[in-house]
Amino acid sequence: MYKKARYLPAGDKGIVVEFGSTIKTQINQKVRSMFLALEQCQLPGILELVPTYRSLMVFYDPLVWEFNKLLVELEKIEASLASFKLPKPRVNLLPVVYGGEHGPDFQFVCQYTKLTPEEIIRIHTSTDYLIYMLGFTPGFPYLGGMDERIAVPRLEVPRTKIPVGSVGIAGSQTGVYPIESPGGWQLIGRTPVRLYDPSRTPPFLLQAGDYIRFYQVSSEEYQEIAQQVEKKRYILKTLDYVEKRS
């Protein structure tokens, strides 16, 4: 983490506030603090904020802000972050049916890791994964913290169509596909929850800085939840995040 953030111009409407040059929880927390502090103080002429792994993109109106004046204001907020009371992150509980038709690569992951199906599910469900940022496709969470014991290489030939809700592993990353898209992740299961639905309010369920915890459900439970999701009646379960859950 840098001692002081770097402020980098991104054209005439954007400024990147960079807190570090690595993927680390502490750096990402700083991004989240800056993001929430800026949201709270509601400065005029701040158009949009985009938190990422280690920086915050601030889009502003150049008719309201001269670059140097905005810089002074942002530095002031940065200096006050030490005393900023960060709200507890939320843990989003995502039901997943593992293996079978919903996880076509589950057997491969067992063979590759030499672990039993139960062990893989136990390991995959026993971590709270930090949502470092959302990007790539609408609502796609970049997660950190997967156990290296279940790390597997990507598919040699990516699939052209991956069903929405598929849960996959690629390298030491795990993730969920929010929309049907091509991809090379090894698919181990599927969640009936829609991370992104443009016809729903709100369209997105996850926020950068929060966590995801997967839990196993049966095919029957999957179907039940899928029906509730379809009727837009499903409410995602969440918990307060408690650090160092083992």
């Binding site: 980098l8 054209g11 005439d12 792994y53 915050l56 150049p62 670059f67 609408p138 369209p203």
Partner: protein, 349 residues
């Protein structure tokens, strides 16, 4: 209520407004008009708010039939628009009669034209915007480009709208296309990934827009820019007009449908007032980048916004009115006899 029927869709005709803001933090791209200037001016001409949705027409335009009378304005690139076979003036509010057919003869200059209809387009807003985001399949008409048979509704023509008919924007508000397109950039956010020599090469080089260019990004061909170390960074946010330099050293300009975040170094970002120039560039066109300071960029931005703000006071009401750009109750016909021009006015009694 009136409507426009798509007879032929053209190469790529989509509904766009100024874009979908507030959702980039969830990974939702902004989309919106490639050429914001042309869209804003088209809307102002017909008396809309400047952010209203228009048809964005690309290279080979569609054939459209107006099933009801309306007032339209066409701005941006010159794609040889014709109404019932007669040239339709650009940068001008025009009265359209029921049954009129608009078609395009092909590119004369530029790449994209914007068609505004007085009163706006009846398209549902998704996350606050009518813009079509093709890859995400949302916005516009079913999240896709227009097809044959689509009908787009607009509010019925009002009497006060007729007052805007025939007004046009002054010459200095219209486009003047040149063979070399110079776009100004602010260096960064990752200019420190390059030596001064490489930055010099980037600014002195001439780059061609390749065929591998779309609403998401323009891939350019020209001098390759080398990184001090790696082309990769830890993914961060992407602004419209950011110029990425991937591992092969050839710049990619991030356009309207850009992803919200990315992991390539970005050497520079095109300034907002110059973005329309690249939005109007097509494969084969030549681009050169010119660096300005952020202070200069902001000065240019303020002038650009002022120019648009004062436009309503600068509209010109053309004395040479042609048949198709007319008040429906008053026809003015322009005829030539022995080289002399006469305007004949006919009024319904």
């Amino acid at each position: 209520m009136g409507s426009i029927k798509v007879i032929k869709p053209g190469f790529l005709t989509t509904i766009q407004d100024l874009g979908r803001f507030g959702y980039q933090k969830f990974g939702m791209p902004v989309a919106g008009a490639m050429d914001e200037y042309a869209l804003r001016i088209a809307n102002l001409l017909v008396g809309n708010t400047e952010e209203e949705a228009c048809l964005e027409i690309t290279l080979v335009g569609p054939t459209l039939e107006f099933l009801d009378e309306c007032v339209i304005a066409l701005t941006g690139g010159d794609l040889r628009a014709q109404i019932n076979g007669e040239d339709l003036p650009l940068w001008q509010a025009c009265y359209i009669q029921k049954g009129d057919k608009l078609h395009f003869g092909g590119v004369k200059s530029g790449c994209r034209a914007y068609l505004a209809v007085a009163g706006g387009l009846e398209i549902p807003a998704i996350m606050g915007s009518k813009s079509t985001y093709l890859r995400g399949q949302i916005g516009g008409v079913e999240g896709r480009a227009l097809w044959e048979g689509d009908e787009i509704s607009f509010p019925a023509l009002s009497a006060e709208t007729l007052e805007v008919v025939n007004r046009k924007v002054p010459q200095d508000y219209q486009y003047d296309f040149s063979s070399l397109i110079i776009v100004r950039v602010v260096l960064g956010p990752q200019e420190d990934a390059f030596t001064l020599n490489e930055i010099k090469k980037f600014l002195e080089g001439k780059y061609q827009v390749t065929n591998n260019s779309d609403r998401m990004g323009y891939r350019l061909d020209g001098p390759r820019i080398h990184h001090k170390k790696s082309p990769d960074i830890i993914s961060d946010g992407i602004a419209k007009g950011s110029v990425q330099i991937p591992g092969d050293g050839l710049p990619i300009v991030m356009m309207s449908d850009r992803q919200t975040t990315g992991g390539y170094t970005k050497i520079a970002t095109i300034i907002t007032p110059d973005f329309p120039k690249i939005a109007q560039a097509k494969p084969g066109d030549t681009i050169q980048f010119q660096a300005v300071s952020i202070e200069e960029a902001h000065e240019v931005y303020r002038q650009y916004e002022t120019k648009i703000r004062i436009l309503p006071d600068k509209f010109i009401y053309s004395p040479r009115q042609s048949y198709h750009c007319n008040n429906p109750f008053r026809k003015i016909i322009n005829i030539k006899i022995n080289g002399k021009e006469y305007l004949i006015e006919i009024e319904e009694i």
